[in-house]
Amino acid sequence: MFSYLDAQTGSMIVTAIAGGFAGLAVAFKMGMARIRSKVTGKPMPANESSEDDEYESSHD
């Protein structure tokens, strides 16, 4: 189940960039994936992980 707010691509890229160096890599990959899909005409690749194992564990 997704959060009820619409996660917009533009805003998500900004959160990555605003996060600094590590985030830039994420933003770059998101941007590259978009460019690749435009060039090849294929849709963006889906994440292969299954529904049940995708929760994050706590960091403490």
């Binding site: 189940m1 707010l5 996660a7 533009g10 805003s11 900004v14 959160t15 605003a18 963006m44 706590s58």
Partner: protein, 466 residues
Amino acid sequence: MSGISQDPGSFRDPLSRVFVGDGRVVRAFTQEGAKDITAVWGKKSIQGALQSGELIESNIVEPSSVGLSAPWTSAMTHPMLPFISYPYEWTFSMLKDAALLQLKLTRETLADGIGLKDATPYNVQFIGSRPQFIDAGSFERRRKGDPWYGYKQFCEMYLYPLMMQAYLGVQYQPYLRGSVNGISPETMRKLLPASIRHPRKGRLTHVVLHAAASTRFADSNTDVKKATAKAGMNAQVLDATMRKLEKIVQKLNLGDKKSTWSNYSERGHYLESSLDEKQKFVRDAVASAPRKQVWDIGCNDGVFSRIASAHSDYVVAMDADPLVVDRLYNTLKAEKNDKILPLYVDLTDSGGGVGWRGLERPGVFHRGHPDIVMALAVIHHMAITFNVPIASQLDMFRDLSPELIIEMPHADDPMVRKLLQNKRDGIHDDFNLENFERLLSERFDIKSKMLLAGGTRTIFHAVRKG
């Protein structure tokens, strides 16, 4: 049969709803929503926020025990807050403190594997001067690669309004009063130009880039969640983003230091003896019966709110000058005062009925039931400056409260003369004590009255007829 009914402002999150009634607030969850709340509720960050009071007191109950059935499979009860206020009634410091609380909870829970679904200031309330997060339904299990869903909303509802005031000296309250969704990145980019002399921290990334990216990717049909997950988005990146945002918000400051009424507390036009006897009159009137809630309209520095607070459970202190209210908020905050709620409310333009069907965020008159209202040194401003007839003001007070303490400056009062000096002669001839007392007596029984020292003002304690 349960006496609770759904809150008209609770519908955006399909997984949970708020019901109100029988003197309590109930938050109900669907089966899907309950999975999240069950998984996150025992976590250290949530329990810590509950203990500190940053998160509203919550007791998990069986839905059937509060009269709810399918589709609600889980529920919790919360205490009824004395008064619900909205971000457009908060001053700069209040919105800033609410923003910092939002970021703090989002960061602390993120470290616990919890995500927040949204980032709206409508999820924060002030108990006196203390901000509290009230939407327990916002917390969910964080999925790997999840973005920060509330980022855009945080910008639109917290960051941009604060920037508008701090960087431009422009009040954000009228904007938030007119738009339940806040200020969009595109609008903010147009409003906030670059400045070499006054660097505007956060503008480039959170305004310019955000607006450009929103426009550029507006037609995107990407599965954003999967795309961010695949690109390696993780909690560390999001935490760094929020940490930086925290620093930006902390550095935003209220620029204006002076306003029309910000020096009113000196009360140069009052005689000392007049102030003393006025205070005694107010104290006696408020203390004459038990009071759950008092409204102080035109509270200024809160002298009379404090007197009322000593003889009541809760005071809502309103003033039409945001700078004056901001100063009061910071004073109350320093005292950790949770009995006086300071709000920026201009009764001649208080707004109301915004959002879906005009019911999502009701106006100020629908959110509280004062036992007694104080309108001290305020009606001449509404009558002369804003042309609200005295009769109409008294109708409003009669509809609002069973008791009233009201100060009437006479036609020869220096402040009345000042307000009239640039008005056409004759149009406010009805602004006089005799007419006022007649209109008041038609609606209220006058319990006591006193001519204040100086002889140009009379104060009344009146009880609604019938």
